[in-house]
Amino acid sequence: MPPGWWLRKRHYFLYVVREFTALPMALWLLWLLYDIKSAGSAGFQPPRSIGFVVFSAVCLVFAMYHSYTFLKLAGVIIHLKVMDRTVPPRVIVLTMFGLWALASIVIGAVLIGFAR
């Protein structure tokens, strides 16, 4: 393919953005690993800098895009039959987005609720 093929159509560009989301999410998880490691060391420093907030905000945009595109694909990937009837893809996608909301509430509650 010629260089710059992904800039020729919006669809191609969004596809590349979707694949690229892996990089910022990986970087943020590496930071989380560092945060876990620092919890047991003498150099524990909670993240409070504005630079870290900006970094996280950028990662959040990519993570949200990953979630939206990945969960939307669930209707194509997952094929379910209940009582010999195929579950419509739309129901599967809605269920996945519902699970996303539920998981966010539960994990958010744990992260905030166990803080002092």
Binding site: L33, F70, V76, V110
Partner: protein
């Protein structure tokens, strides 16, 4: 280009992870990579945004109290074996997903070397290394406590 660009379609290539051309044997390696890719992507999609929002933005800005802002609460929750298992699964599966996506992104950008065996070793080996480092950190950072 297909909209559904996943190992189910990619793995059919001989160079795909576990992909075997004209083989009648069960493609166990393909199944393994597909499992890691799909579950890593699904888990990251379901839980990563809220981690980033709370631990990366709301906590550092002081809008809410978050466990990792204070050493005592952070070490307390990290001592829970269920939390350790959750973090291991989240980080390990996600990195196998990331490795697969980034390798094929390079292929799509016209880097043929990304299809090679050394590239597979680097990307998936990297995911294995991150997994092992995660295990080591979780086992050595905060002692496990029940209760």
């Amino acid at each position: 280009m297909s909209d559904v660009h996943l190992p189910a379609m990619r793995g059919g290539r001989p160079e795909g992870p576990g992909g075997a051309e004209h083989s009648h044997k069960p493609a166990l390696m393909h199944l393994f990579w597909w499992f890691m890719f799909a579950n890593g992507g699904g888990l990251a999609a379901l839980v990563l945004p809220v981690h980033i929002l709370v631990q990366g933005i709301l906590g550092p800005l002081g809008i809410v109290l978050v466990v990792d802002q204070h050493r005592d609460t952070w070490t307390s929750i990290l001592g829970n074996p269920i939390v350790k298992l959750y973090l291991l699964v989240l980080i390990a599966l996600s990195f196998f997903h990331f490795a697969h996506r980034l390798r094929y992104l390079l292929v799509d950008f016209g880097v043929p070397a990304a299809k090679s065996t050394p590239a597979q070793v680097i990307f998936y080996g990297g995911a294995v290394v991150v997994t092992l480092v995660t295990v080591w950190i979780l086992l050595t950072t905060v002692p496990m406590t029940l209760g």
